[in-house]
Symmetry: D2
């Protein structure tokens, strides 16, 4: 149980993840790859629960595959499976990741003053809809400490000023430690290229516009000035180039001429929380694969 304000998840909810594994594979596309992989899994005695694949281009493109499988006694038999995959990897130039569905990834969430996205992540974790552990909340402002604490999550206040940016990042990295995923949940600071490099394909940001429209600061004011009829939000992996990393999810909401900038912010908060929570959920379920500047999402 995650905190005082949340009811316990049903005890048997986690049971269905026992001995369930996920295999994510990427390699140059060529005939025989599916036959080889499914043969390997069949030999291992794994029962495929779900399988999704994509060929970016059947001749000369990238092949990606996500398998969800049941394998009795997964923990014990995992080394054998990994060895078999390792052998295949050489033949097919494949990179692969094997995860145990029962293990909850550890998240570090960065916020500033706005609480709406954090609240949603906490709600979904408590509800069991987002199977992860929020290990720590880091903020450059102290405001959201009560929110984190109410859910039993450690909170760290790391002030940032133009002069202390480097030290602040170093302190934050120390706190984050070996988190599986870092989420910038309306953290109003630009992180350094070094920070990005520490969490390759494991650092997600929510941008409060429909990218690539309204890159940068204050997108709702820009949207109001332009007179758009839909406002949006974009969850993306963070790369050193501002607001340019691979997009995971986007959504929009309709507004009309009556909407003030403040109304747009209000409506936008609900889009943002939905989009980021969805992107984080897909990530922790191993459904997102980065392919150059884009993502493949096996939703």
């Amino acid at each position: 149980m995650r905190g005082v304000s949340a009811p316990a998840a049903p005890a048997d909810r986690d049971a269905r993840f026992t001995d369930v594994g996920r295999l994510v594979v990427r390699c140059p596309d060529r005939p025989g790859i599916v036959a080889a992989l499914s043969g390997l899994m069949a030999d291992a005695g794994a029962n495929i629960i779900d399988s999704q694949q994509h060929s970016s281009d059947p001749s000369g493109g990238t092949f990606t595959l996500r398998l969800e499988f049941f394998l009795a006694d997964l923990g014990t038999r995992r080394p054998d499976l990994e060895a078999a995959l390792g052998e295949l990897a050489g033949d097919f130039q494949l990179t692969w990741r094997l995860t145990d569905a029962a293990r909850k990834p550890r998240l570090a969430v960065f916020v500033s003053k706005a609480d709406h996205v954090l609240q949603e992540l906490l709600y979904r974790v408590d509800a069991g809809d987002l199977r992860a552990e929020i290990a720590v909340v880091v903020s450059n402002h102290p405001d959201l400490e009560p929110v984190a604490r109410a859910h039993g999550v450690p909170f760290h206040h790391v002030p940032v000023s133009p002069h202390t940016k480097a030290e602040a990042e170093a302190a934050a990295l120390e706190i984050v430690g070996d988190a599986d995923l870092v989420v910038l949940a309306r953290y109003m600071q630009i992180v350094s290229a070094e920070f990005c490099g520490r969490f390759p394909e494991r650092l997600i940001n929510i941008h409060h516009s429909f990218l690539p429209a309204f890159v940068g600061a204050n997108p709702y004011q820009a949207a109001a000035d332009r007179g758009v009829k839909l406002i949006g939000a974009t969850a993306h992996y963070v790369t050193p180039e501002l607001d340019a990393g691979p997009i995971i999810e986007q959504e929009v909401a309709r507004i009309d001429h009556r909407a003030t900038v403040e109304d747009m912010r209000r409506v936008g908060r609900y889009v943002e929380r939905q989009v980021l929570a969805q992107a984080v959920t897909w990530h922790v379920e191993d459904r997102v694969i980065v392919d150059g500047a884009k993502t493949i999402v096996f939703a």
Copy 2:
């Protein structure tokens, strides 16, 4: 401030409701009604901020109007405005309601064990997006007491059994007292006709299907059996006939063949919380007018 886990709303957020009034009018449609009402408001010195109207049928139908206006010193001048409206009412057979936007309506929320809709109402109240006070939470189960308490809201456990239904309702009514609105937020009990009669057009329920499909219990199982491709939720005013009261809001979400009943319930929870929160928000902003079996929603 509503509770320990929520940051304070900006202090000036409420200021914009000072001296703002809302007038909701319903009468038989006939020429001259708008001229008479807008003349009355102009004479009173009110500045119209927003005006929406509807004629169910220009000849012989019902005319409905919602005005939002600014009137300096509204509290002091309200009696004069009411007197003027009272005079007009006789001429035009109009029923009207005048509310002070600064006053937050008091809500009583009924729940059972599921917390998702209650959590959303609490979040929106804390965020200032739903301008109301949740005065009390009533439940036939004790499970959600920590949720209410964490937001500083009194919680009452009123067990219901087939034999004690009447006494339980009486006890609940006592607790609810003079609440402005009663919200059945996944309260899994059917309330009596007497209960409905106590809160005419002030009792809102969320039904977890796209009514009139799947009336009654266990709609997600019924939806799964039928193989629907969209699942929905419906917020409606409660009348003695089960699931047949005037609909305020509906929304759907897309599912596919992979969705189990449990998946539908999970997806549905997000639709339900959105639909009920929207309906309650419209109600407390005086945007919903019941017209026979239907509603007019000045969204």
Copy 3:
């Protein structure tokens, strides 16, 4: 090219379907089935372009698979592939269908007086977005003959009266002949169980409501009476029980209190044309698999 009013599709649009095949498989789920099938395809020299699969239940459920593949000289090598599949079929109790993507299915479209769905089907065929041939239009009214003729499609007027229903159906069946798919595109007649039996899983209807709400005639009037906030449409395979066949696709559109029944019909026409065109497109691309009372749609 289909008719005088439509520009020719780009000449190379069809080229990408040459030597492309689709294999749709259904069988009891059991380990090894994917390995066996992908091995078979690899042995045949087929290059998998797209693969989607579903297990209704990993233990004891139904396994369904849709493969899209490239096989040079498909026409010549098809018999060998079929023989190999036939051998596998016995071992795994699988039913399968192999189609040549280059061959356009032949559609028979039934209409009454309303033209909107027919127009959309004709538009999408002309645009190359729906890869099918509309072989014939059949109607119980003569009104839409000009629409069909303008697109070069034969039109047959088969009047239906309560006394001549059986003869009319017989005449219609003769006209339809060996069509691959029969589409009831707002054909306001109930077809017989015999008619349904002639086109198992090959007879699609558009119902102008969000089923199972408003089964039967005049759903828009029923929707208006109930005061719904969304109206919908449902495309489904036809079975002898009215409006109860497996649902392929559903969509809704938002309306408000201003909508008259006529407005609902107007808005609904755009939902209907979208939903039916989508369902027919999925069907002709072998993306829909009937599984009891439901469908699996590999969209």
Copy 4:
């Protein structure tokens, strides 16, 4: 009736527009304006069918109003109504437009080679859903002549080359004459500032992206390169600055990683036709009011 391929609209469909007028008003906001206008309409004997208004800012902003009214013998009594409005206009600095709903505006539609948007406009006009007359189709390519002719609409081929742009525009303007509205329906040419100036707030373009994302040419390629998860379309009034005029309507459609640029174009065509048809419909129903860089849409 508009052409051979379309069934006649019901004869009584137009009757409901007889003696129906629309008044659109814009002026500096100040108390008393609604009372004055509704008094004027009541004195004239007009029965208000629909009324929508907007204050951009209750203190010092712009007030806009759209009235739909019934006035028996509108044609005869219109001069008196106009005189009364003229008198009021001075007092309130109001600009106004009075239209007779029975009169169908005349549209000139510019296209290049793509037919999807033109087809949709023709369909909606034929169906009676877009109450306008398409007076002429102009194109820089001859391809769509059969489409226009099939609906009985004159078609003019006006070739454009870099050297003949000015002459071509002059020729096009001659053809367009006194059209009420000019629609650029995927006309792949940039029109001159002079052309824009000839049709102030009466020149609508469809841009095949979610503006302001992907301004300029080839937005679908740009969208594919960026890996967006939604593609959009924007209908806007044309001003001399490219793709920067007031937005009337926007919509998006979801795509996933499987979408090629060609898939995006195909999906986008359906969004474009919907968005432009909606914008044109609102315009001809006097529902769109330009307010600086934005629009007010009384939908």
